[in-house]
Symmetry: C2
């Protein structure tokens, strides 16, 4: 291992440029307004010749800023979070921040542990999508207390408390659109597979469905609602249950669940679309390659990610609390939702 000899410090640069370390620091951080260009140039050249790179640890020790943002997500193998992180990281890198990533594996205990750990690393800010568990007592109380004590700017994304700063898709509005679309296709018995109802995202999406029902003067029967997790297994199990309750369509609150519904329907001998309509939420990359492409609500993940960075950094750098923009998901038509027969008849006769 070479290591390349001793480390080049600011002192070495100072010596070579014939100035004090102070001046080097000033010049290199662009605060040397008072120094003449000649000196600045000399310092810059010396730094370049020695390939000097400031030691970020030493800098952070004195400035109390690390330029690191901590991220906690519940499940990296969930395409939504993978994609979110994928967009967040370069958005932050561009502004000079690095990312320490933690995966809580949907366990509140890990959320707390990782947040403490990130605080111990003096991160400048936290981007949080806690586990579903973390929104239940006693975890939620502990979590909020902890965040209060730490004094580190934080922002929730995708999963949130209503009274804390957050960025997420417009859950209610988006699922209202989805449910309306299903109803326009003639479905009035729509099974719903939700995520954990401890999550606002799930509750709000459910509220959207209820609103769609209400608009038609109907009511969502509680036996058509299946609460689960945002995973494939939930989709299969939910499908099995809902099929027995006579629904003509299933609205899954994530594409992962929708994939499970596909599997469940197949197992029950039902064809997607022909026998059972399916609506997803997310528009994961796999949805379009399915034999029956999934009709789903596309989350603008990239925009959400970038907005989250923008809002968090505003808090970090100037303490302002921006009002985050709202993002609507967009209906992506696949082939998994069929118009119901009588509805089709009506369309025909109206031509």
């Amino acid at each position: 291992m070479s290591g390349g000899g001793k480390k080049v410090t600011i002192r070495d640069v100072a010596r070579r440029a014939g100035v004090s370390p102070t001046s080097v620091s000033l010049v290199l951080s662009g605060k040397a307004a008072s120094l003449p260009e000649a000196t600045r140039e000399r310092v810059r050249r010396a730094a370049q010749e020695l390939d000097y790179r400031a030691d970020l640890l030493a800098r952070s020790l004195v400035t109390r800023r690390t330029n690191i943002i901590g991220i906690v997500v519940p499940d990296l193998t969930n395409p939504f979070f993978a994609e979110a992180v994928r967009h967040i990281q370069p958005a932050l890198a561009e502004r000079g921040y690095d990312v320490i990533l933690c995966n809580s594996e949907e366990r509140a205990e890990n959320d707390l542990r990782y947040i403490r750990l990130l605080a111990g690393r003096s991160v400048d800010g936290l981007l949080l999508a806690p586990s579903a568990e973390a929104f239940t007592e006693p975890y939620s109380r502990t979590l909020r207390k902890l965040l209060g004590e730490l004094g580190i700017p934080y922002l929730f994304f995708d999963r949130y408390f209503e009274d804390e700063p957050w960025v997420a898709v417009d859950n209610e509005g988006s699922s209202l659109l989805a449910a309306r679309y299903l109803m326009e296709q003639g479905h009035e018995k729509i099974g719903v597979i939700t995520g954990p109802l401890s999550l606002n995202s799930s509750r709000n999406r459910l509220a959207g469905v209820r609103r769609a029902y209400a608009e038609r003067g109907l009511c969502l029967r509680s036996e058509w609602v299946y609460e689960g997790k945002y995973d494939i297994a939930t989709g299969s199990a939910g499908c099995a249950e809902l099929l027995g309750r006579g629904v003509s369509a299933v609205f899954a609150f994530s594409d992962m669940q929708a994939y499970g519904v596909y599997a469940g329907a197949r197992r029950a001998g039902r064809r997607i679309s022909a026998d059972l309509s399916v609506m997803g939420f997310d528009d994961s990359v796999f949805s379009s390659v399915l034999e029956v492409p999934l009709t789903t609500m596309r989350q603008p993940v990239r925009q959400i990610a970038e907005e989250a960075c923008r809002v968090l950094l505003a808090r970090v750098e100037s303490g302002e609390t921006l009002r985050p923009q709202n993002f609507a998901a967009q209906l992506v038509l696949g082939k998994s939702v069929a118009a119901l027969p009588h509805e089709r008849e009506r369309e025909k006769s109206s031509q």
Copy 2:
């Protein structure tokens, strides 16, 4: 923002325990063999009462260790890497290391940029899966030179140079198994969709296929080999191309590509299995929910991830270079590979 008043330093603890900061440091890091238990206890209590947490920045500045490992992956939305990171992170956390994650987006320029940036953060080690581009000139030269100069322990995973330390699945052996299986099912015209051939993983998998052909005294025709990327689009494009060349089966070097093959076959009016057999590589979570579940080679991602951590930390902590274990992928039977008619006949008649 509360912030909770002034920061508690080692001096505060020292004052309260009535000893010097030196002693506190010694006790808290367990190196105070010479101090009597009474004193140690006093120090520990004082630390606890004040809720003292050592400032990791200050510590790192003097110890020159950060307990951070930098990871660079080419694409987080690829389930293989998402899962790998998911396993790596807790494996490292368990041993006291945090992870700074970077996503190169398959661009060599970013590989280099991020490695420099991680070095600037004084990470203790690097876990690298560079972009395909990084294995071509001039990037590969630059990359290796850079790593040599930095003097930071590193380990390649999944993607590697033969003469550098790495951990990965046994590519050649695994694809040999896959190809043998296809041949046992009667396929002798197997189209292959590879990843970038700049990658050892792709080349070695291809070598495995060639060996399987050789075992039967046959030869893999070059027109049956389609080089692409490890993504869905490549799968579709490759499928279209290979179908025109009369293959009865396609071996895709990743499940993502296999999904593309499914889509491509559908577009061409061919049924998976009945008209075209498909073999994948990875066993991503979606493969089992497909209408025709994918037959694929399961990579032991978790084991690879944990082995990578073990080997890297050995280098970091004691400078030893362990010989990494070899991992074979395992055949997972779906329904995407059919036995060819004449083969089926033979089986029947032999009963």
